[in-house]
């Protein structure tokens, strides 16, 4: 047995860390989050495409690296609060690869380059809706209905839209979407609400569609959990550094036991997220029966854990932690986004319980 990464995975981690710290250090990419309309750096994504990152979730022969590598990458992206739709993009690529339809294959080829964004349109106004009970219809070659919280939907070239009839692919119409921005507390996000009345292609139906969506949800949750681990890990590093340097009452504030114990609690949450997320990635990689269960365990844990770590990171920074200039808020906000999407805490708790050995 061995929990730590093997050599290839460790190499991927160090090379990804090097790449991101060089090309996407948070200090540099803040402007991308705040000012770039797309919310991400196109060149950076093209570079990720060139380096093969976009195909991480494909099968090995198609350039895939497997769920553990995926978790490694997501954790590294968490560490720098990497902006943009990477998680949606790679899960969309995976979804396209699972669909037999020709147009899916075409879009797959384009999306893999890292310059053509394909995202998902799943959520609807009815709270916590099951995708199978969609109010969006695919009829006569058109998708009609409203989707909400479409991530980076305004700038996507195509969207994978769940409908009552199956999974539809809608290419960006010439005039763009009929979309309204939904601005959340995480200024790095670019959610939109879209009222569809567009031509589309049904790329998966029935059980196939359900399975494609289920895989996307499961892998999205896994990626979100790993990203939350990275966000927490770096938040803690930043907090420890700050409390070591900052003095009050004549000593470093990090020497106060109350803050030390808080930091210890933060590490407990973060390292437990690491254990849970990588265990789940390993199960997914090895096709273990309990992979879905373990991913829900990881995601249900990571949300509240991340909230705690992100919030306490602000607290440990004191006043400056509440400024835009310091980083803690960016980490907390990203955690809030990841917590709420790819299945809410409540959904994952219920999904975990259903499959739990205690029942």
């Amino acid at each position: 047995m061995r929990f730590e990464l093997d050599d290839d995975q460790a190499l991927l981690r160090s090379s990804t860390r090097e790449l991101l710290e060089k090309e996407a250090a948070l200090a540099d990419t803040r402007a991308v989050m705040e000012e770039v309309p797309e919310g991400f750096d196109k060149n950076m994504y093209a570079q990720l495409g060139e380096l093969g990152y976009m195909n991480v979730l494909l099968s090995e022969e198609d350039g895939g690296l497997g769920p553990i590598a995926f978790a490694v990458i997501m954790a590294e992206m968490g560490r720098v609060a990497f902006p943009g739709p990477f998680l949606e993009w790679v899960t969309a690529i995976r979804a396209l690869s699972e669909c037999p339809d020709t147009s899916a294959k075409e879009w797959l080829a384009k999306a893999s380059q890292g310059d053509t964004l394909v995202s998902f349109a799943l959520a609807e106004d009815v709270h916590n809706a099951d995708p199978a009970e969609s109010q969006v219809a695919f009829e006569g070659g058109r998708v009609r209905g409203t989707k909400v919280f479409v991530p980076f939907g305004e700038h996507a070239q195509a969207l994978l839209v769940s409908t009552a009839q199956g999974l539809a692919l809608v290419a960006r119409p010439g005039t763009g979407w009929n979309s309204t921005p939904l601005e959340t507390l995480d200024h790095a996000q670019r959610f939109v609400r879209i009222e569809f009345d567009d031509e589309g292609t049904l790329i998966a139906e029935g059980e196939k569609a359900a399975s494609v969506l289920d895989n996307a949800r499961r892998l999205g949750a896994l990626g979100a959990s790993a990203a939350m681990f990275g966000l927490m890990e770096r938040s803690i590093e930043n907090s420890v550094q700050y409390t070591t340097e900052r003095e009050a009452f004549g000593k470093p504030i990090g020497s106060f036991q109350a803050l030390q114990h808080r930091a210890a609690d933060m590490l407990l949450k973060s390292e437990s997220t690491r254990s849970a997320a990588f265990r789940a990635a390993w199960a997914e990689e090895n096709g273990e029966e309990d992979a879905d269960y373990l991913i829900s365990v990881a995601k249900a844990w990571a949300g509240p854990a991340g909230r705690y770590v992100g919030g306490q990171s602000i607290q440990l920074h004191g006043g400056v932690g509440y400024t835009w200039e310091y980083d803690p808020h960016i980490y907390l906000k990203r955690i809030k986004t990841l917590e709420q999407f790819h299945g809410s805490n409540r959904w994952h708790i219920q999904n975990a319980l259903r499959q739990s050995p205690i029942l």
């Binding site: 939904l182 507390l185 009050a248 006043g319 932690g321 509440y322 809030k336 709420q340």
Partner: protein, 392 residues
Amino acid sequence: MDLHFTSEQKAFQLEVQEWIAKNLERPFTEEVKDPKHDADSLVEVRRNWQRKLNDAGYLGQRWPVEWGGRGATEVDEAILLSELARADAPNIPNFLGIPLLGPALIIHGSEEQRRRFIPKMLSADEIWCQGFSEPGAGSDLASLRTKAEPDGDDFRITGQKVWTTFGPWADWIFVLARTDEEDRHGGISFFLVPIDQEGVDMRGLKQVTGEAEFGEVFFDGALAKREHLVGKLGEGWRIAMTLLGFERGSSTLLNPADYERQLRGLASGLRENGEIDRPDVAERLGWLAVQNEVMRGNGLRTLANIDAGMPPGPESSIEKIFWSEFHQTMTDEALDLLGPQGQLKATSSHARPDVDWAYQYLWSRAGTIYSGSSEIQRNIIAKRVLRMPTAK
């Protein structure tokens, strides 16, 4: 025990309610949502609101009649503030100037200072900000390093202050500055400093909410005239400490009223989502309601004892921890219960109409830091209330 408001207090509450109903055009959350507003125009909304309050005689109502007082008690003040919170009225620009600087001038200031500053502070013709905290002196305020050096009869101020709320719109700042390097507490004095002068550089300090309502201010030999020293040299620390305890009763009912309004908004949201009757949702909502009511009980207790002239109990640090941490708990739960919609900014399409949850969630992170962090409050309780030992 007597937790009743007197009939006069009840009448005053009714009067305030009616006055608000007549004078408040719309809740401040709606102002924030209105795309016509920017940060500057929102300050004007607040300034106008302060003027209305002042015209109605609601500001400085506990002061001597000469300075706007009308013989009000802390209970009246608490009633006023809680009704304003319940109605989601705008925060007034001089929300620190009036309760902190006002009494400082009335008790420690000169007659000239009072005449010069109080009327315009009340009318919001001059906005005041507070210059206490420094980048290196937050929880440990007495370690402040901004200094005031004699320059003829006057003083020159050098240093940096942060967390100056409304600073970017302020005309004056009241400043604690060091006039003696050797004397930790006795070497601090209290100055009034005009902001529009060379030597004062006021910058907006962007907060995690994205606003820059706070400022940070750099003094580089800024002039503080001798006549703008409040009290004597070296009395600044004592003045500041008195003031920080002076209005402790007024806000006791404010937070529970504010949070009650927010919880009512949460209940509405959950009702609209068809979830309020789910036992899990109801239990979580109910537990929030219970905690808020317990907080109100603490507030009533503080207020009642102040009103009865009783010495303050251990309540004030407890109240600070309670409201600030409960605000975090409440917004945490609200965002979890409301789902993605709870994360929408007030200015976004489809945001909840009644409560700016995204702002409240982020803003709640500040409450456990400012005005004595939760850590400081717990130290106070352990050492001063419980008398736990200090390491030898």
